[in-house]
């Protein structure tokens, strides 16, 4: 284990992957070691492609991928130490969770008894102990995600790769899965979690990698990126009968640096500090005694945020 600490578990060197003319991953270099890392990016940013390159499903068009120093395309030995949760929703619905996890555990060379014990243990860890003898086909979406996580943890891996583990889960399952991921991080394992929702990642980890259109956009601590995000000019769209009266009330408020009237009955407020703007918003509206029917935040999504980051860098 000590020698592994010298080299990062995951290394990508100038990795590109294209499908015909379509670029999947564009010249990414990355080294990841220890703790939970969030891979953030909108749909189609290349998160799954990145993971499939790591898991040896795809062969890089250019560059090198190394897991524990080994190329996963030609050598499956790193998988002894890796757990992978794919984005695939399909499972063997006719199997029980216990069966599924223990069968896959045996692929690590465990005996039937070891595999059963391990499966029981990890299913308990992901909170499915009580239902582990039920067929997977009868499980809810959140439970299915947890079965997938359990199978990835069954051999106590050092590196865990989770592709959209929170996708489609209800809030309770979401919380439980997040706890599992945080727990794994605190055990000192390297965990890669992908998501297209910033808030999800924020609740799990501070260490993030942002992908956009196949490029590595940002890398590092979430707070460092947050600073960058704070300079992100936000727009707040207010639908009202008297946009001009409301606009005059906003001018002079500290976070607001500009107003616009994009169309009839709408007011656009421009700000550099979204949270500050939102904190003054209710007071200004109440003071101006203008009736407001709707407030939108068109920029409050990852897509526009990333668009800003590209323009900003």
């Amino acid at each position: 284990m000590s020698e592994d600490n010298k080299t990062p578990s995951v290394i990508l060197e100038n990795v590109s992957k294209w499908y015909g003319q379509v670029m999947g991953i564009n010249d990414i270099s990355l080294a990841i070691e220890g703790g939970v890392t969030g891979i953030l990016g909108p749909n189609g940013a290349g998160k799954s492609t990145l993971f499939k390159l790591l898991m040896g499903r795809l062969k890089p068009s250019q560059g090198n991928v190394k897991l524990f120093g080994i190329d996963p395309w030609s050598d499956t030995s790193p998988y002894r130490r890796i757990g992978y949760v794919s984005e695939s929703e399909r499972l063997y619905d006719w199997m029980t969770a216990q069966d599924f996890v223990s069968t896959l555990a045996r692929l690590h060379g465990m005996t039937r008894e070891e595999a059963n014990a391990r499966a029981e243990h990890v299913l308990d860890f992901v909170g499915l102990h009580d239902v582990r003898h039920k067929e997977i086909g009868k499980y809810s979406k959140g439970m299915r995600q947890r079965v997938k996580i359990a199978h990835a943890l069954v051999h106590d891996p050092d590196l865990i790769i989770l592709d959209e583990p929170l996708h489609g889960c209800d809030p309770i399952a979401r919380t439980s899965i997040m706890n599992v991921i945080r727990e794994l991080g605190s055990q000192g394992k390297t965990v890669l979690v992908s998501s297209h929702i910033l808030e999800e990642i924020e609740r799990i980890t501070e260490q993030i990698v942002i992908l956009h259109n196949g490029r590595l956009l940002a890398l590092g601590n979430l707070y460092a990126i947050r600073d960058l995000l704070d300079k992100h000019p936000h727009r707040i769209m207010i639908t009202t009968d008297e946009p001009r009266k409301l606009a005059s009330a906003f001018i002079g408020e500290e976070p607001v640096y500009g107003v616009r009237f994009p169309e009839e009955g709408k007011l656009e407020i421009q700000t550099n500090d979204l949270s500050a703007a939102h904190s003054v918003l209710p007071r200004v509206i109440v003071d101006s005694k203008v009736s407001v029917s709707r407030i939108d935040n068109p920029d409050d999504n990852l897509e526009s945020l990333l668009g800003y980051l590209i323009g900003g860098t």
């Binding site: 898991m55 998988y79 794919s86 695939s88 006719w94 069968t103 896959l104 692929l107």
Partner: protein, 537 residues
């Protein structure tokens, strides 16, 4: 050190074993959970059951011995079958004439113009026309032969018509006999026994002789004249070699005109192969059905079932339904990710998947073959309770089927990998090719184009095993042709072709097994190569 070393190697092997076990088991369970698996397995059982019903039905009818020459019949109802009457030279169309019955022996006669025209004696008189002056008449005597016009003395005496009997009486007026007023009998073409003087008018005739003593001859059961001459060239029942009956015709006992009476001539070519069998009449005239037709039909059933039902039908359909999607379906479903994220080589994965598939189809085939083998070997022809000589042949059929399932399984799995969408059509076309080549192999075993198919080699295995286990099958075919006892054995079986000119079936067996294994290993290797370099989305 040794302990440690062994322990290490055991660990490596047991780990591989565990992985193989897990994937094999998963594959078996997966296949078991699919309806199509049960449908195709069920159809296979149905097919074999139908064949078995057909077999059981045919064994009831055609395997029963048949009296081909009809000599077990007792046409005259005297209790002696035709075969026995022939041996004793008696007639089976005469109740009075049977083995041991008293026989008429000729002594003398007066023909149309013989002199003198009177004769005195105590005789059995036969076909007498004339005047008989009796000293004593044996009214109790019975006719030795039903065709004699024997006088029924029990009837009332008939008055003679007026006039001179042999001049005035017309044929229609003539009674069989009548008594003149002086006590002389006038007899017209009748037979009787008695002592007296016969006087025959010119132009008429009379004959006399005596009856031998009768003796008792045991009546043979009819069954003795069914299958009485097995094909061996010997007149087992002696009806050709009998003494006097029909021997006047010099060719009667030498039908094959080779100068030897009552023999069978076996004609061989230079290589010692039997060309034809020429039998004299009444030798091998009723070949043993239960031994030949029964045996021959039984073998035909086993060979035909092995080649067509097991190799060509089950051998093709099982892999088409079970092997084509072994890896392809996992890839399409996305469940492949779970399996491939484990430390298992993709090549290994293909191998273990195929092992799982083979686990199902091989156990299915072996069980099915065991059931058919058990039933047919128990009810099949032969003296022993269980036909043990069948089992090597069934083992050969099982081997051929397993190799075919392995070869097609590897081929279909690889085709499924290369062409996920259209692979099934390719496989169906290929299956048709294989089926046709199988049929050609059965009908034209020497055709070389059939060597380009897997089924050809599987059929070779069965041919070779049949030759090893039932070495007299070739002889049986020739007998069948010589005696016209066709059971299909000549259609379904030919000696194996690929013996490197040695004629040794073991050579053909080994060559075929090696070729089929090579095809399987080659296709698995190609599949592994393709799968290793395939990007999985």
């Amino acid at each position: 050190m040794d302990d440690q070393g062994r322990g290490l190697s055991e660990t490596v092997w047991t780990q591989i074993d565990r992985k193989a076990g897990a994937i094999t088991e998963l594959t078996i369970r997966q296949l078991r959970n699919r309806i199509s698996t049960w449908v195709v397995l069920g159809v296979g059982v149905l097919l074999i059951s139908l064949l078995l019903v057909f077999y059981i039905d045919s064994i009831r009818t055609t395997f029963e011995p048949i009296d081909n020459d009809g000599d077990s019949e007792d046409w005259d109802n005297d209790g002696y079958p035709l075969g026995q009457e022939r041996i004793y030279g008696t007639s089976d169309y005469d109740t009075k004439n049977y083995p041991g019955s008293s026989e008429y022996i000729y002594l003398g006669d007066i023909d149309y113009n013989d002199q003198p025209r009177t004769h005195y004696g105590n005789h059995t008189w036969v076909s007498v026309t004339g005047y008989f002056t009796p000293t004593w008449i044996d009214k109790e005597a019975e006719s030795p032969f039903i065709y004699y016009n024997w006088i029924d003395w029990g009837g009332r005496g008939i008055d003679c018509p007026d006039g001179s009997p042999f001049e005035d009486w017309t044929y229609f007026q003539s009674p069989s006999y009548c008594v003149l007023e002086n006590g002389t009998y006038v007899v017209f073409a009748v037979s009787f026994a008695g002592e007296g003087e016969i006087s025959v008018e010119p132009g008429w005739s009379a004959e006399w002789g005596y009856m031998t003593e009768s003796f008792f001859v045991e009546k043979h059961p009819k069954s003795r004249y069914i299958d009485e001459d097995p094909i061996n060239g010997i007149d087992d029942d002696g009806d050709c070699l009998r003494d006097e009956y029909l021997t006047e015709d010099e060719y009667q006992d030498d039908g094959n005109r080779n100068g030897i009476n009552c023999d069978v001539e076996w004609v061989y070519d230079q290589n010692g192969n039997l060309v034809s069998i020429q039998a004299d009449y009444n030798v091998d005239e009723d070949p043993d059905d239960s031994e030949h037709i029964g045996e021959s039909s039984h073998r035909t059933f086993i060979i035909g079932t092995g080649k067509i039902a097991f190799v060509m039908i089950l051998g093709l359909f099982l892999p088409l339904f079970l092997a084509l999607g072994l890896v392809r379906d996992e890839s399409e479903n996305g469940t492949l990710h779970y399996l491939l994220s484990k430390p298992i080589h993709r090549g290994e994965f293909i191998l273990y998947r195929l092992l799982g598939y083979l686990g199902i189809v091989v156990s299915y085939t072996v069980i099915l073959i065991l059931i058919v083998a058990l039933i047919t070997s128990l009810i099949g022809p032969g003296d022993s309770i269980v036909r043990l000589s069948d089992y090597p042949v069934w083992m050969g059929i099982a081997l051929a089927t397993i190799l075919v399932l392995t070869a097609y399984g590897s081929i279909f799995n690889t085709v499924g990998l290369v062409m996920p969408k259209y692979g099934v059509y390719i496989c169906i076309l290929y299956g048709i090719w294989e089926f046709l080549m199988g049929l050609f192999t059965i009908t034209i075993p020497n055709a070389s184009i059939t060597m380009l198919s897997v089924s050809h080699w599987a059929i070779q295995i069965i041919d070779a095993v049949v030759m090893i286990s039932w070495s007299d099958t070739s002889l049986m075919q020739q007998k069948a042709e010589a005696f016209g006892l066709e059971t299909g054995i000549s259609f379904f079986w030919h000696p194996p072709v690929h013996t490197l000119e040695t004629g040794n079936p073991f050579v053909a067996l080994i060559i075929s097994v090696v070729i089929m294994l090579s095809i399987s290993i080659g296709m698995i290797a190609i599949g592994q190569l393709i799968f290793r370099n395939k990007e999985i989305m």
